[in-house]
């Protein structure tokens, strides 16, 4: 078959669904977002000041209690912030899963319309057309190419909505980028709090050991209240960090899916336009009729600047088609091949979507599991914050640094 050129041009479409995001264990969540040395030393200073201050207080005084309250509320703001975002980033993969009404519906419609034009579906195109199968009535081939003219406005409309569907996907990706930037920020602050909590743990432990000899009662109080709460909060912070990291990766997955889908949409449009152009050439070669597909051509020229790579691909393809159609003794098969390309593209998209849906489902399941788990300690953090109240909170607030 003289179709190798078109075939090879189409071979490179490979839509790879990204792998599902695995659950991130809490122990591994820390350290993924770097905290620079300056911030780290500032946090350490903060902890040192706090611990010295705490140890100086009488264990039974309300002042000691206030400082312990500050520990229980430690990182509560950061956790709440990150949790608020984690509730939102769960929506996005879910929405991505049932987004079959936009691009998906357009692709289905395109396939239906293209199938109607498929030369394979029209049986033998040679010979005269016969009314009721008996009376000769014009040429079969001519009426076949006429059907292009009647469906061109429909195809142009579908291609246009595919274009706007693609824009939606791009917009989605832009929103994901913004969300990821916000999440990165939130993770940076969580990480700071984790550094702070871990330093606090270390310092309190040292202090308690030091006090064991001189003031065992105080050492006991520090271990039982302050240190206990610090460890509890460290665990909470680590768990929230794990959930947030997972959400961050899940957003990346949605983004990659969208990128692949955009590729698919681009390719579907390109192959469709290529098939129509082939039809124009073939029609000229076979029936010497000039098939005028103005709307398709117009569509192609207006979008050519925007989808540059597509435009280039089209140009080289069209040249090849011209050559083949002119040289080949069986131009209808060239046309058949062009249609096959469209089907291949659409099949690739369908397979991709199926696999991507699987990855997405796994990701959403693990993520909602983690989010569900994290709800428990978020409630605990809120409770602690309410107990601590505004009185203790603002003076000894243990918060991440801005910037």
């Amino acid at each position: 078959m003289a179709t190798t050129a078109t075939e090879t041009a189409e071979q490179d479409l490979k839509l790879t669904p990204p792998d599902p995001v695995p659950p991130v264990p809490a122990e591994k969540a820390a350290g993924l977002v770097p905290v620079d040395d300056k911030t780290r030393s500032q946090l350490e200073q903060k902890v040192d000041g706090f611990v010295t201050d705490l140890v100086a207080q009488d264990v039974n005084s309300p002042e000691f209690g206030k400082r312990v309250d500050a520990i229980t509320a430690m990182g509560q703001k950061e956790i709440r912030e990150a949790a608020g975002q984690s509730n939102r980033f769960l929506d996005r993969p879910i929405r991505a899963m049932d987004k079959d009404n936009g691009v998906g519906a357009n692709l289905t419609e395109l396939r239906r319309t293209i199938e109607e034009l498929d030369p394979g579906k029209h049986g033998s195109l040679s010979g005269p057309r016969k009314l009721f199968g008996v009376i000769p009535f014009g040429s079969k081939l001519k009426s076949y190419f006429d059907s292009y003219q009647s469906s061109q406005s429909h195809i142009a409309a579908i291609l246009k909505s595919l274009g706007s569907g693609k824009d939606e996907l791009l917009m989605d990706n832009a929103a994901i980028d913004t969300e990821r930037a916000n999440l990165w920020n939130a993770m940076g602050r969580l990480e700071q709090m984790i550094v702070l909590a871990k330093t606090m743990d270390q310092r309190l432990e040292d202090k308690a050991e030091e006090l064991d000899a001189t003031d065992p009662a105080k050492a006991k109080a520090i271990r039982e209240t302050a240190l206990f709460y610090v460890r509890q909060r460290t665990q909470d912070l680590l768990t929230q960090m794990a959930v947030t990291v997972q959400g961050y990766l899940a957003l990346d997955l949605v983004k990659k899916n969208n990128v692949e889908l955009v590729k698919g949409v681009d390719r579907a449009s390109t192959t469709t336009v290529a098939a129509l152009r082939t039809a124009v050439t073939v029609a000229q070669a076979l029936t010497s009729q000039k098939l005028v597909l103005d709307q398709i051509t117009a569509l192609n020229t207006t979008t050519a600047g925007i989808i540059d790579s597509t435009g280039k691909l089209l140009k080289s393809q069209t040249a090849a088609i011209h050559e083949q159609a002119a040289a080949s003794t069986i131009p209808v098969e060239t046309l058949q091949r062009a249609f096959q390309n469209i089907y291949d593209t659409m099949d690739a998209i369908d397979t991709f979507k199926l696999k991507a849906l699987d990855s997405m489902k796994t990701t959403v399941d693990t993520l909602s599991n983690e989010v569900e788990k994290s709800k428990g300690y978020i409630a605990r953090a809120e409770g602690a914050a309410q107990n601590a109240g505004a009185s203790a909170g603002n003076q000894f607030k243990l918060e991440a640094l801005n910037g």
Partner: protein, 238 residues
Amino acid sequence: MTSEVDEQIARSTELLNRTSERYRSLGQRRRAAQGETIVKRLGRIAIADIAILIAATVIGWFVPLGIGGAMLVMLLLVVATLGLAVFPAAAPEIKPETFHQTPLRILPLKTEQWLDRQRATMPAQAMRQVDGIEQRLETLGPQLAGLDENTPAAGEIRKLLADNLPGLVESYARVPAPLRTVERNGKTPDQQLADGLAVIDREIAQMTEQLASGDLDLLATRGRYLQIKYQGDDTIEN
């Protein structure tokens, strides 16, 4: 060569400029509000007087008014002018109890007006804080225009502006003046007021930030979209 005195003068001038700028906005608004009520009053007087004159003319077409009638018209004009100049009295005092019925849109404005009247009873430090809160409320006001009354965010704002802020100021006002500077449990009431106001100030700032975050995100998204679509992806990551 600049001496220490020069530096001090420069610093003081800078401080004066800064503070006067802050007061100017409040003063301007107060003056503007006054100007507005005067214009309104004058308008009402003009409408009443014109109505009386038209009525007199119409009656004059059918029944001759005579000297007595003319005098009566004059008297009516004087009474209407004076009456409308005095009544209705200046805007009624704002009561925080009514804040719950105030639409959220104008709640910051009402709270601000109310707070402005309470300023006089407060210590100097609290006055400065109140100025800050008033400025924040001014920013918050327009942000609430599109906010649905039933969202949790709206509830939080209403609670802060209609309950917590007036509650704090009123309970401070109820403390007898001589006791306000006396320390109790480690803090004077003056300090407690200042602490409370600081918390409220921070909360309002945070609300403004939170309300704006959606718009900020949208702006960032739009910018990124343009980048992805027209410049290709991967030019800038994050």
